[in-house]
């Protein structure tokens, strides 16, 4: 009997001790309590309690402000550790939106590691601090962003023309009027969203002419070219300049050629709408430098896709580290979520419902966004190990003889059966955009097309002879029956429909200098020259492949 009394006594005491330990730990040593106790403020901090920002329509209940006291609604001038700093001034009031919608993380948590989302089983860790602006992509879509070079030139133009002297953009620049207060010129941080006065140049010029003084000294007329650049600058001011810059890099690396974003792009690779929301629990981090961060994985994926995704067909992105960083930054911003109507931003509605383009529709941007990934940023094609080579599309020898119809039709319909997709589709480009791309290619090559007096089809020659010659001289690169190999497929119906006979003959005759296609009008050490008749025979043979399967 005594044993039972000892048992009861001991286990009761142990229970008491454990309960007391739990109570003390919860009521005194919780991290958020310690942090709140250490905070000082002039108005006196309200009671030690959990604080949260609640927004039911956004499904947000963020308790970050229990530790980040300086950011809690209504708290101000909180002094103490770094964690107590107030939020940087931003457009969206954290008291209304909460924290996780921009920063990610686990809002309901009240422990640091859990709240920052860096725990197992939480699929959305917080964005790294240097990538905080990627959070804008949760809701917003920047519209009309140009290529990297154009944007850079636009930014430099705004600097060079000294617009910052009077105008404030993203907390930079602007001067306060000495006499009346207020800024000299309006804040231009959000012209991309709110619009601007189209007649600004005339008005500036008129004011400079009439007012004189500081006005006359600081404003001089702006060239047409520069005006266009400034328009680009204004169009891209949406309050997130670093993100827009990153997007311009994205639009110059040709990613949309294979990937779809917000319904526009190719389908060789996966859709990227939720690329920034990848669950780190489902990624393999072996071989990724920088720890178990989604952004590190993303960067390594760009550098060497096949080493992080087994069996990936994506070629490595051979750009400098800075561009890789920008591409990672932009991809992390691809994290759009479902939103209630009240919170849908106008830019997203314009993009998703009214089809307004996220990219500028000039030739350089379109080419950079859709074509540069395969055809090279200079249009001279790419050759990647393990993949078929992508032809040069801005080669001078090509542009000199390529008929307009061939170029337009190839881009519109693609080369069925081969890697080139047709781009005239809802997820692709519009006819006028394709025409812009073709014009851009001609500019890239810098060669005007030669006039061709002959009719489209004028060759009529011996098909059998052509076949034999083809077997000897062409099949090695262009494959049996012209199916394609190292060189493009010649039996392709789009190619043959769009090409004139002159084009085919001249291509064989002249070749493409600097590529593997030599000009067959000239002999080489390993083969003789082909006569005009022989070349025409080959062309007849190629024409005989029309109507066959590609």
């Amino acid at each position: 009997m005594k044993k039972n009394k000892y048992l009861l006594l001991l286990s009761s005491l142990v229970t008491l001790v454990l309960l007391a330990a739990a109570a003390i730990e919860e009521n005194f040593f919780r991290e958020w309590r310690r942090i709140q106790r250490s905070a000082r403020s002039d108005s006196g901090i309200a009671a030690l309690q959990l604080r949260q920002i609640v927004n039911p329509s956004l499904k947000v209940a963020d308790r970050c402000v229990s530790c980040h006291l300086g950011m809690a609604p209504g708290e101000s001038l909180v002094r103490g550790a770094d964690v107590l700093r107030p939020h940087k001034p931003v457009v969206h009031d954290p008291s209304e939106f909460g924290c996780t919608i921009c920063h990610g993380g686990q809002g309901q948590a009240t422990f640091k590691e859990d709240a920052h989302g860096q725990v197992e089983f939480w699929p959305e860790p917080m964005l790294p601090r240097e990538m905080s602006w990627a959070g804008c992509g949760s809701c917003h879509v920047a519209l009309g962003v140009p290529s990297q070079t154009t944007l850079r030139r636009a930014e430099l133009a705004f600097e060079r023309l000294d617009c910052y002297a009077c105008h404030r953009v993203d907390s930079r620049g602007g001067t306060i009027r000495p006499d009346r207060g207020g800024m000299e010129g309006p804040d231009l941080s959000f012209t991309g969203l709110r619009g601007w006065d189209g007649a600004w140049h005339e008005k500036h010029a008129k004011k400079a002419a009439s007012e004189g003084g500081a006005w006359r000294k600081s404003f001089s007329p702006v060239s047409e070219e520069d005006q266009r650049l400034l328009e680009v600058f204004l169009r891209t001011r949406v309050g997130a300049s670093s993100l827009v810059r990153a997007k311009s890099v994205f639009l110059s690396a040709g990613c949309l050629g294979c990937h779809r974003v917000n319904g526009v792009g190719g389908d060789d690779g996966p859709e990227l709408n939720a690329a920034g929301l990848k669950d780190p629990g489902r990624l393999i981090f072996a071989g990724v430098p920088g720890g178990r961060q989604v952004s590190a994985w993303m960067a390594e994926h760009l550098r060497s896709p096949v080493s992080v995704v087994a069996g990936s067909l994506m070629p490595p992105v051979l750009l400098p580290e800075e561009d890789i960083r920008q591409l990672t930054f932009f991809t992390m911003s691809l994290r759009a979520r479902e939103l209630p109507d009240r919170y849908l931003p106008r830019d997203r509605v314009r993009a998703v419902r009214f089809g307004e383009r996220e990219f500028s529709t000039d030739g350089e941007t379109l080419y950079g966004a859709f074509c540069a990934g395969c055809h090279g940023s200079d249009g001279m094609g790419r050759r990647l190990p393990g993949l078929i080579s992508f032809p040069s599309v801005a080669h001078p020898d090509f542009l000199a003889i390529a008929p307009e119809e061939l170029m337009q039709r190839t881009i519109e319909e693609g080369r069925p059966g081969r890697r080139m997709p047709g781009w005239l589709k809802p997820e692709g480009l519009r006819p006028e955009e394709i025409r812009t791309v073709v014009a851009h290619l001609r500019r890239l090559g810098g060669v005007a097309p030669e006039p061709d007096p002959r009719p489209r089809r004028w060759v009529s020659s011996d098909v059998e002879l052509g076949r034999r010659l083809f077997e000897s001289y062409c099949r090695g690169c262009h494959g049996p029956e012209g199916r394609g190999g190292e060189g493009p497929a010649l039996n392709n119906k789009v190619l043959l429909a769009g090409a004139t006979d002159t084009y085919l003959v001249e291509t064989i005759r002249r070749g493409r200098r600097g590529t593997a296609m030599g000009g067959f009008a000239e002999p080489t050490p390993v083969r003789p020259a082909l006569s005009q008749a022989e070349i025409e025979a080959i062309v007849s043979f190629l024409r005989s492949l029309e109507g066959g399967s590609s």
Binding site: N4, L8, S11, T15, A22, Q108, D114, F121, G281
Partner: protein
């Protein structure tokens, strides 16, 4: 109207008001401090909460070696889950997505929430462990024998209800672990289709489909399933459990207390260390005054010197001791380890491997060979087998003794050896060489249903127990062998299912070898 010579009404009123506190206590606790045998008897007998207990307890029942307090430990674990469960109901919301959020809130924000939730989870697991150990104890001490056969059946029912409670609770967090575990469970419920499909009769007779539909309320695991499981978990099953518990305890009383060997008094006399005085040194003609209405067995009848002690306080010390020990253990576990919570349930992303709760993993291991046999067949055989034990073993030798009966500990030892060897052997064979479908791809499903590691193991165990029966010429020996083999098989299969099965239920020596993820 006050009588002449007594106080007037106003004075009466004042005096009554002043004496009220003391009187309240006196009328509530009428028997006074239980310091005499009579007052102790009345204390237990007359108290609504305590009178399920006998007024006197045999000293044998209070021995640690008799029961190890496992029954009380199970009850204690149940009480802990009950109390913590009710507290969790203040905040838990039984609708998909919202359920997950509410558990997150309980963990992060609710005062003491994390602690209470951990306690609930750990106490539930402790309850399953102790209920199995309690069943083993009752079996090995042959305490199911006459007149306690029916109580053994009630105990089996309690085991099933305990597992059902644990299973229904498993779904409530609505995380990946919960969702896919219950998806598997529901598909196991559907496994009779394996047989009806093979026979081609599913169209007319589909008990599998019906079971799954009743369980889920829909054809997928969704909000209907969640609300059903919630109802079962917080109301129906606890009520059923409480009712069965009441019968179980009442039966212990009616069956004359805990089972004792015939020579219990002699053993006690040898072990005796404390002074205790005998009561009822003469054979009483009747028991306590009121209890004389009921004819039944009491510890006092038919024996010589009494070896009972008042339940108040001795039995209660024992019960409270076990209760507090269980509480302390559960508290310690809760403070050290958090209850698991994975990502929000995602029907598009199956967990791989998707594992049932640990006590069903042995079953799932068998299910990986044959859904019907593993899910329904073998468990039914096991339950029926367990239920029949007291009706097949009607011997009397060894009741109340550990490993009592022909065969004894040596037979149990041999059965442990055979049980582990057979289970490990069958598993090793199946893991190394595969099973029928790998060698004969076109073999009829029924062939596998009939002949698979689960049935093979069952047959081996049955054969062994028949051998033991013949060898010792005793049904008890057969029962000892079979039950021990069952425990071994359960352990081996559960351990393999827990630690050695990875994605696609393939065998891996360690989780480090699992591919990907």
């Amino acid at each position: 109207m006050p009588a002449i010579g007594t106080k007037d009404a106003l004075t009466e009123f004042r005096e009554n008001l002043r004496a009220a506190p003391k009187r309240i206590l006196e009328t509530a606790f009428r028997t006074g401090l239980p310091t005499t045998d009579r007052s102790r008897s009345t204390f237990v007998f007359g108290n609504v909460f305590l009178h399920l207990h006998s007024v006197r307890t045999h000293r044998w029942s209070l021995r640690w070696l008799t029961t190890a307090g496992l029954g009380i430990a199970t009850l204690a674990a149940f009480l802990i889950t009950l109390v913590t469960g009710v507290l969790l109901m203040f905040y838990y919301k039984p609708y998909p997505e919202v359920a997950y959020q509410s558990i997150k809130d309980i963990h992060f924000v609710v005062p003491t929430g994390r602690f209470i939730r951990n306690l609930h989870r750990w106490a539930a697991n402790v309850m399953v462990v102790t209920v199995i150990l309690h069943m083993a104890r009752v079996f090995y001490t042959a305490a199911y024998r006459r007149p306690r056969e029916y109580n053994w059946l009630i105990g089996i029912a309690l085991l099933v209800v305990t597992l059902a409670l644990s299973f229904t609770g498993y779904l409530l967090p609505w995380d990946q672990l919960a969702y896919w575990a219950i998806t598997i469970g529901a598909n196991i419920a559907q496994s009779p289709r394996e047989v009806t499909d093979a026979l081609g009769i599913t169209e007319w007779f589909d008990p599998g489909g019906l079971q799954r539909l009743l369980l889920l309320g829909s054809d997928t695991v969704g909000e209907e399933a969640l609300i059903r499981f919630y109802l079962l978990h917080v109301m129906l099953l606890p009520l059923v459990l409480a009712a069965l518990l009441a019968v179980h305890f009442w039966r212990v009383r009616k069956d004359g207390g805990l089972a004792r060997p015939d020579d219990a008094d002699d053993i006690l006399a040898r072990e005796r260390r404390e002074e205790t005085y005998p009561v009822f040194t003469e054979q009483p003609q009747k028991t306590y005054h009121l209890a004389a209405i009921v004819r039944g067995r009491t510890p006092a009848v038919g024996r010589g010197p009494e070896n009972t002690v008042p339940s108040m306080p001795h039995l209660f010390y024992a019960e409270f001791g076990v209760l507090m020990l269980t509480v302390a253990v559960c508290l310690l576990l809760s403070l050290l380890w958090d209850a698991p919570l994975k990502e929000l349930a995602n029907p598009n992303v199956p967990e791989n491997p998707a594992k049932a709760p640990w006590y069903f993993l042995g079953l799932q291991e068998m299910v990986s060979f044959s859904a019907f046999m593993g899910g329904i067949g073998v468990p039914t055989i096991v339950l029926i087998g367990l239920g029949l034990i007291p009706y097949l073993d009607r011997e009397a030798e060894g009741t109340g003794r550990w490993f009592g009966g022909p065969g004894g500990w040596p037979l149990v030892r041999l059965s442990l050896l055979f049980g582990f060897a057979a289970a490990l052997g069958v598993e090793a064979f199946a893991i190394r060489f595969g099973w029928l479908r790998e060698w004969f791809p076109n073999i009829h499903q029924l062939a596998i249903t009939v002949f698979n590691p689960g049935t093979v193991l069952t047959a081996l165990y049955a054969a062994f127990s028949i051998w033991a029966m013949k060898r010792h010429n005793s049904t008890r020996a057969g029962a000892l062998a079979l039950f021990t083999c069952f425990l071994c098989g359960f352990t081996v299969l559960t351990v393999i299912g827990t630690y050695f099965r990875g994605p696609n239920w393939e065998f891996f020596w360690s989780p480090a070898d699992w591919p990907g993820h």
